[in-house]
């Protein structure tokens, strides 16, 4: 491999061997967990223990990268030239590093939670489940450290394929049809639109490398720019921009740990992460601002934000409601790109972290409620807060973060997005964001209120009766995380600033 490997040096950028090894390890360790899971279908404790160790190791490896690189970025290391001028290449830059940190960090918690959930719920085929889960994490790490659009696309598809068995996990007709929707939208959009966009970009510019300031300057103009942006925006189906959002509610048939990590953090964030990468490193924020090519996308994102919130209000199924909430929140990030200002992009980037922490809390709480009382509908939750105070408190904190109120992390990213809107001269977008916050209050807070203040039916115990420890502890930790993120938002902003200027 050493023969084919060469680093493309740019002034001031290098990749030392340790960082490079760490990048590769971050993808390989989850694969080790995958093979271990497949090899040990019967030894539950050993298997889950190995995966836990691998999850911790992955997080540690990403921390090593963080301590080596910090907020800077490294040169791309090309592993193999797959097509002329198109290589499998990796590098570290702030946005990707943050994404890797979130995904690997939350993997540890979700794994603990997943073990509790799968056992508490007597689900079948644990080995297959955890194997696919680990594979998906490996794909996420690949996406996070991709140095060009081709590499990203490769891992993007790998993520789709590896999560399909997770959505179809239960094997019921419902799960099969949900998985079919999931796959057909994600793969359909990526093959028909994203791939076209990628190859078109390559044909126009002769490169696919993520470059600061974009690669389109002087290569594309006129109608091509908005059309190409459209191919990307819709092609990245994982970003769940309307009208290609239906896979996300459909995927809610999956066991809750999948919804929590993959469909609140890894998969959807891989989508908006790609969107940000494309906006910042392929088109370039300045280029988008000059050409005004992203204005239509801004309006579509705004529509998506409001419409999905409205739909969320009408959902009685808790997970579906959270799913539509995710659709709405993801469009915040798309909006951040479409505003075509540095602040907008920064706000979008930060929202990846904030929303991940908040939404994973909400999903894990929903799963705990299901494990403990097998309740799935919002209307069945009355009085449960008194039996499960920790779960509902965590839910409340997560909800506040999603709404965007201090002292939770979500308030900062929303603030930055609003600043970005002002910079872009689009004051109307502030109204959209405010309206969305109100809608969030309307569909999230009643759940908390019902739980704590309404009288439950006769099956709800009056005393303290929480879900198993493994189920309530992780959401409690992530809820605390929302609070921590509020305090450290400044650091994250400084960290991410490296991607725009």
């Amino acid at each position: 491999m050493a023969r084919a490997m060469r680093a493309r040096m740019q002034p001031g950028e290098t990749t030392d061997m340790e960082t490079f090894t760490a990048i590769i390890l971050s993808m390989v360790i989850p694969l080790v967990a995958m093979f271990a899971s497949m090899a040990l279908p019967k030894q539950d404790n050993l298997r889950d223990g190995i995966t836990f160790v691998c999850a911790v190791a992955t997080f540690a490896v990403v921390l090593v990268i963080l301590s080596n690189v910090g907020g800077g970025s490294t040169a791309a290391v090309e592993l193999i030239e797959v097509l002329p001028g198109v290589s499998l290449a990796f590098n570290v830059e702030p946005l990707g590093l943050m994404f890797a940190l979130i995904a690997s960090g939350l993997w540890i918690l979700t794994h603990i939670y997943g073990v509790g959930y799968m056992r508490g719920n007597n689900e079948k085929n644990h080995a297959r489940f955890f194997a696919c889960f680990s594979a998906a994490i490996s794909g996420v790490m690949g996406i996070a450290f991709s140095a060009n659009m081709f590499t990203l696309f490769l891992f993007y598809e790998f993520l789709t394929v590896s999560t399909y068995p997770l959505v179809a996990h239960k094997g019921t007709p419902e799960a099969v049809s949900g998985a079919r929707t999931y796959l057909s939208i994600l793969m359909g959009t990526s093959i028909a639109l994203l791939l076209t966009a990628v190859i078109w970009t390559y044909a126009l510019t002769g490169t696919l490398d993520f470059t600061k300031g974009g690669i389109m300057q002087g290569k594309a103009s006129g109608w091509i720019v908005p059309v190409l942006l459209g191919l990307y925006a819709f092609g990245i189906g994982k970003a769940a921009l309307m009208p290609f959002h239906r896979w996300l509610p459909a995927a809610m048939v999956a066991p809750t740990p999948v919804s929590a990590l993959l469909h609140a953090v890894a998969v959807v964030k891989a989508g908006v992460f790609t969107m940000l990468k494309v906006g910042v490193y392929i088109f370039g924020i300045d280029f988008l601002a000059e050409t005004g090519a992203s204005e239509w996308l801004m309006w579509l994102a705004a529509y998506s934000i409001i419409a999905a919130s409205v739909v969320a209000m009408c959902q009685d199924n808790l997970k579906k409601r959270l799913a539509y909430s995710t659709v709405s929140q993801l469009s915040y990030i798309t909006l951040g790109v479409a505003l075509a200002t540095d602040m907008g992009a920064l706000g979008g980037g930060m929202h990846i972290a904030m929303h991940a922490m908040g939404k994973i809390t909400l999903f894990m709480c929903a799963g705990s409620i299901y494990v403990a009382y097998h309740r799935t509908e919002v209307s069945q939750l009355s009085g449960l807060g008194r039996a499960m105070p920790i779960t509902f408190a965590a839910f409340c904190i997560g909800a506040i973060s999603i709404i965007g109120l201090p002292p939770m992390g979500g308030s900062w990213s929303k603030f930055l997005l609003m600043v970005g809107a002002v910079d872009a001269g689009q004051q109307l977008m502030i109204v959209v964001l405010m309206a969305s916050s109100l809608l969030n209050v309307a569909y999230l807070m009643p759940i908390v209120a019902k739980g704590f203040f309404m009288a439950g039916d006769d099956k709800v115990p009056t005393g303290f009766a929480e879900a198993p420890l493994f189920c309530w502890l992780p959401p409690a930790i992530t809820a605390f995380g929302c609070l921590v993120l509020f305090v450290f938002a400044g650091e994250i902003q400084t960290f991410l600033a490296g991607m725009v200027n």
């Binding site: 023969r3 084919a4 193999i80 030239e81 797959v82 097509l83 002329p84 198109v86 499998l88 081709f150 696309f153 490769l154 598809e157 790998f158 394929v161 068995p165 179809a168 094997g171 099969v176 079919r180 796959l183 057909s184 793969m187 359909g188 093959i191 028909a192 639109l193 791939l195 076209t196 190859i199 078109w200 390559y202 044909a203």
Partner: protein
């Protein structure tokens, strides 16, 4: 010391004779098999001769992968009078593909044939060797009439091989008969075309033909010859609408035969078509006659959508794959029609990549047939869980068929779309990706059947024996390998496309004299990459 020199000379002579051995070894194996008349011996002989062919074709490919060609004069008769074998990167790659698939199919065939055919195993192997020889001959030869001879050798033995499926399903007989009639019509058209060319030029050597056609482009004879040749080869290559023989032949032939034919037969014909279009006639001629715009692009699109669309509705996996092949041939023809470096590279590399992809998928079907007795979706439900390795192999093959990044199929699709963009034909680029969505549907239907349906209660299916599993695994690994390490496939395809598009195939070309070649050509697979990057794209 004297001994050393002697060995060196023998080696040198052998090395120079490689092009002839490429054909003679498998060709002589066929009568030898019949002569010994024992099943075991027959299999060993066939396997051995395929392996030797594989080594030879690899050695030949490595010599020409960077450019240039090898000219070999049969019996020492100089062309254009004698028959010339001429190997460059284009046919080097196809020779390698055919012998690779043949070698890997052999171990698979052993058990598969035992299960599907009870009698005449020796004759089966003899026919398979003849078919193999015919395909290799079509590709290696530089003589137009010789192409026809080898085409018939391969066709006649193919009819027999298809008919051997009759034991499992009597419809194999009518399928073989259909193929016989249509194949003969195709071959006749081809030979008529050659006749016209001979009439106009008085020669049959391709290089000589290329020289003499110059200046006669407007001659009606030359043009009619072109039409006959394209139609004749189009029929053998299952180009829509001349594809009618293919689905039934592939469906009812014994599994091992389908594996071999699907991966190689149509590819050889497409190669010959490429050779005639670009080397005998010139790219400019093809361009001026508008045959690409008027004929190839619409027909290729029709194949891509029609073939894939029909595949979606099949209930038999084998038949579904057959229709998918028709669609995939459309991609290859579309690549030719793009008439640029990326497009012709896409065609060349797709022949190779699709060859290994289809081989692995048909092997998977063969394993299902062995264990479940049929390849209907009703019968193979849930088998992916009972036969985990087979299932995994089919998943990899299926992903490669769709063209998921990281698999071989992706490389060719990428090049094809890129070629369309380079020509500013973005509607065609869109149509290519849209048609591959149909592939998602028909492939995922199989995945759902083999994984999500409940297996039959009574079914005790398990993975097939090692002799079948190992070839499947090798090909599945190849599907991934050639999706990432493209030095060999894309290197050869790039060189080939360049040479084909230059159109220079005349006698005056300086040839790569085989006897002058250094003996230490890199032989190990590990070295392949170092040399393969030669194509400057």
């Amino acid at each position: 010391m004297a001994g050393d020199v002697e060995i060196r000379e023998v080696a040198m002579t052998l090395h120079a004779q490689l092009p002839a051995l490429q054909i003679v070894v498998p060709f002589m194996t066929a009568p030898l098999i019949v002569f010994f008349g024992k099943r075991e011996t027959a299999w060993w002989l066939a396997f051995l001769s395929c392996s030797v062919s594989l080594v030879i074709s690899y050695l030949l490919l490595m010599q020409v992968i960077g450019g240039g060609f090898i000219s070999y004069q049969m019996g020492g008769w100089a062309p254009p009078l004698g028959i010339e074998y001429r190997i460059d990167a284009a046919n080097g790659l196809i020779l390698f593909l055919i012998s690779l698939v043949a070698t890997i199919t052999m171990p698979f065939a052993y058990r598969s044939i035992q299960a599907e055919i009870t009698r005449s195993h020796t004759l089966f192997y003899a026919c398979l060797m003849l078919c193999f020889t015919g395909l290799m001959g079509m590709v290696i030869t530089g003589d137009a009439f010789n192409v026809f001879v080898f085409l018939e050798v391969s066709s006649l033995s193919t009819y027999v091989l298809v008919a051997m499926g009759a034991e499992r399903d009597k419809r194999a007989l009518t399928a073989a008969f259909d193929y016989l009639i249509l194949g003969t019509i195709g071959a006749t058209f081809f030979v008529i075309g050659i006749g016209f060319l001979y009439m106009a030029t008085g020669t049959l050597n391709m290089a000589d033909l290329a020289d003499r056609i110059q200046g006669q482009e407007s001659s009606r004879t030359v043009r009619a010859g072109f039409a006959f040749i394209v139609v004749g080869l189009g029929l053998k290559a299952a180009m829509v609408p001349l594809h009618l023989w293919l689905p039934r032949a592939y469906t009812y032939a014994p599994s091992a035969v389908t594996v071999f034919l699907a991966a190689t037969a149509t590819k050889a014909s497409i190669y010959v078509m490429l050779r005639f279009m670009f080397s005998v006639y010139q790219p400019e001629f093809v361009f001026h006659t508008n045959v690409l715009q008027i004929l190839f692009i619409p027909l290729a699109l029709l194949a891509m959508f029609g073939g894939s669309f029909v595949a979606v509705f099949q209930t038999d996996m084998k038949r579904m794959l057959a229709y998918s092949s028709i669609g995939q041939i459309g991609y290859m023809l579309l690549g030719i029609a793009m008439l640029n470096q990326s497009g012709v590279s896409a065609t060349m590399v797709h022949m190779f990549n699709h060859g290994i992809t289809k081989a692995v998928l048909f092997m998977g079907v063969g394993a299902f047939v062995l264990r479940a007795g049929s390849s209907f979706y009703d019968n193979i439900g849930g088998l992916g869980r009972k036969m985990p390795v087979t299932g995994a192999v089919i998943v990899i093959g299926g992903l490669s068929l769709i063209g998921i990044p990281g698999t071989a199929g992706f490389v060719s699709k990428w090049l094809l779309v890129q070629a369309a963009f380079e020509n500013d034909m973005w509607p065609i680029a869109l149509l290519i990706v849209l048609s591959s969505l149909l592939a998602v549907i028909y492939v995922w239907r199989v995945f759902e059947v083999i994984y999500l349906q409940a297996p039959n209660e009574w079914s005790e299916a398990s993975d097939p024996p090692m002799t079948m599993l190992v070839p499947m695994i090798i090909l599945a690994v190849a599907c991934v390998y050639f999706g990432i390490f493209t030095d060999l496939s894309l290197g050869a395809a790039g060189t080939a496309a360049e040479a084909l598009l230059n159109g220079s195939f005349g006698m005056a070309e300086p040839s790569l004299d085989t006897s002058a070649l250094p003996l230490d050509v890199p032989h190990g697979a590990g070295d392949a990459g170092a040399d393969a990057t030669g194509g400057d794209h």
